[in-house]
Subunit: 393 residues, 2 copies
């Protein structure tokens, strides 16, 4: 038996590390490039005692309570409905677009016939992609769909992806829904939770297990070698039995087929001597220049009534991922275009030459996983890994 | 042409007074027993500058924007979603019962299968009467319906009506719904509005018209006489061409068939040196003794952030209407039982002997009108009245 190496300590890496260590009773070495665990879920307290998620706001939202139950092994989970407003034409409106937003944007009077039409046309449907509205054969619905697209969507998407909307893969476009109701929740998942003491504490508990050796500030790629002929992987010259990789797949293979595009975020912090800055914990700015969203963490992690006379907002400026630009050296979202998918396919074929590489997570699988799906997917991957380890044993 | 007398200055009386005066260009005398206009919508500023609705919280909620438009002639109308929580088993839960309340009451884990069942069974339905849940053939749904009934409904109804639930007319029971969604609005109407400067100001503008003579502090019943033989009505001996009556119909006819039961409310005010008392503008207390609801008016008319260091709650204790008990001498809700309906029918037959009596509104028609329906109904009644007046002219 060789070593088991796990690269990355986001949900994919941490879940697999813990389960292999605990349920297969195998020693694992977990390699983390950054100085901290938790990937982009990492949070820490600032000097005022505000718990800040350093890579933007993250929430556990799922329709499967088993996901929350699993996390409860490692942290106290508390219910927290994600709340978000969008700042459109000088007004704060609810997002996703819903019947209330419609009334705010077209006016109450005009909304009356439009609501009746939407209710009839989309009877029984909870959320409908904006694109279905745009393409509707009803002129009024289509006009409204286009209004949403123009007011709040075209510019937001352009900023988010650094592209024109036409260049974006449709699987991304179809993520933007309108709620066919007055449901004011941002996310229409039944279970919305946060770890009470933050994500970092959760990851710490998950990785705190005798069989797990954690190495922070370590670039795995310096230590990993591929033997192209024997199809063997080594770590510091020692043979690797299993490599679980959760980082950028292009970097694993020395960018040999070119760089995969990811989006990054430059997050700027503004402290103000005010108890409250935004009307809601997250505000989206489709019409602003450069930035897309602001998060007031105090409202997420403490509630608005906390008596600190100071608050802070973290504003996100989307940028192209660039490991050499310190403002954009964190990959967030894979940029799914036809070309990037083609490049990814080449890396995937390369990875498949080695039967002991497991790719897992948003970066390695180059997919836009939400956190709940990411967790569920890692739990499923573990079942494959267990089978493999048991077969070998 | 004789006189046109209108008794009462709630929505029914005020709307008809204004429309007859303005659109038929007829002089009307409006008689109001109380010292103020506006019926149970009456509001006034207290000594701290809080706008208090003296007869409990009222909101304009409707699916027809034309209702709001009509009121906009007399007041600036501002959107305001009614917000209400229910205090059940020591927790504040959303009302009406919805998917979130369900999770709070049965626990997140247990809620998962129940939600799936409800979604399937009531597909496409916005709100479902609790009684449908109770009577469901699915044991789990029925059990949950019974839980809601026991926790939050049986005792509330008993307090509200001073009766056992079995004695209540089913048309009242069916008013209690469960939302089949996470829609957290108390009222599922598309348009929810308040007059910015209060209802009294709205009524003042409505009644402020040259053809309208308003007499406050006047008991119309002292002045009105019925001539049983000629079927003529007089006011101070002068023949009445049209009597629009919006008060208690039993009192109009000297209680000759007995008293109709109404519910009243004793409203107790509690001031506290706190900026905020309740977590929401209205809290319902199904399990408390004696009182049913508290309203924190500051939250309705100013928003929570207003910088008065004081707030007030108005708590409602339902009582049987009794004109001789000063804590219960305001009629609020007709008590619809088979017996009361029988008595009402007798008064109605009596009224029909006179072809110039128009009964309008919750008290005179002995029906549980919501405000939007009451307004719409008065507007319709006006069309009948106009026809009649034009025919005579």
């Amino acid at each position: 038996m060789g070593r088991i190496i796990i690269v990355g300590t986001g949900f994919s890496g941490s879940i697999l590390a813990r389960k292999i260590a605990e349920e297969c009773n195998r020693k694992v070495v977990v390699i983390e490039k950054r100085s901290h665990i938790g990937g982009n879920m990492y949070d820490e307290y600032d000097e005022y005692g505000i718990l800040v998620q350093r890579y933007g706001p993250h929430f556990i939202t799922t329709n499967k309570y088993s996901i929350v139950e699993y996390l409860e092994k490692y942290a106290e989970m508390i219910p927290h409905d994600v709340r978000l407003l969008s700042f459109v034409d000088g007004n704060f409106v609810q997002l996703p677009f819903n019947f209330r937003t419609l009334q705010q944007l077209v006016g109450a009077k005009k909304s009356e016939t439009l609501l009746a039409k939407l209710r009839e046309k989309f009877y029984g449907r909870d959320r409908v992609p904006i694109f279905e509205l745009v393409e509707s054969d009803d002129a009024e619905i289509s006009k409204y769909g286009n209004l949403l697209f123009e007011k709040a969507y075209r510019t937001y998407t352009a900023k988010q992806w650094g592209l024109q909307p036409e260049e974006i893969d449709k699987s991304v476009l179809e993520r933007v829904p309108m709620a066919m109701s007055f449901d004011a929740r941002y996310i229409n998942k039944d279970f919305q939770y946060l770890p009470r003491d933050g994500f970092t504490a959760l990851f710490k508990n998950m990785l705190n297990y005798p069989n797990i050796e954690l190495r922070l500030n370590t670039d795995a790629l310096v230590h990993i070698c591929f033997d192209d002929k024997k199809h063997i992987i080594t770590y510091d010259g020692e043979e690797v039995e299993l490599l679980v990789f959760t980082g950028n797949i292009d970097e694993l293979f020395g960018l040999k087929f070119g760089r995969l595009p990811y989006r990054s975020l430059d997050i700027c912090y503004t402290y103000e001597r005010r108890k409250s800055i935004l009307p809601e914990e997250i505000v989206s700015y489709p019409q602003a220049l450069g930035y897309t969203r602001s998060t007031e963490y105090k409202k997420i992690t403490y509630g608005i009534d906390q008596d600190i006379p100071i608050s802070m907002i973290a504003t996100e400026y989307p940028l192209e991922y660039d490991p050499n630009n310190e403002k954009a050296n964190i990959p967030y979202y894979p940029v799914l275009t036809e070309e990037s998918q083609r490049i990814y396919a080449k890396y995937l074929i390369e990875a498949k030459k080695y039967d002991n590489i497991v790719l897992c997570g948003r970066l390695a699988e180059y997919r836009y996983y939400n956190m709940d799906v990411c967790i569920e997917h890692a739990l499923e991957k573990f079942n494959e890994i267990r089978e493999r380890l048991e077969k070998k044993a």
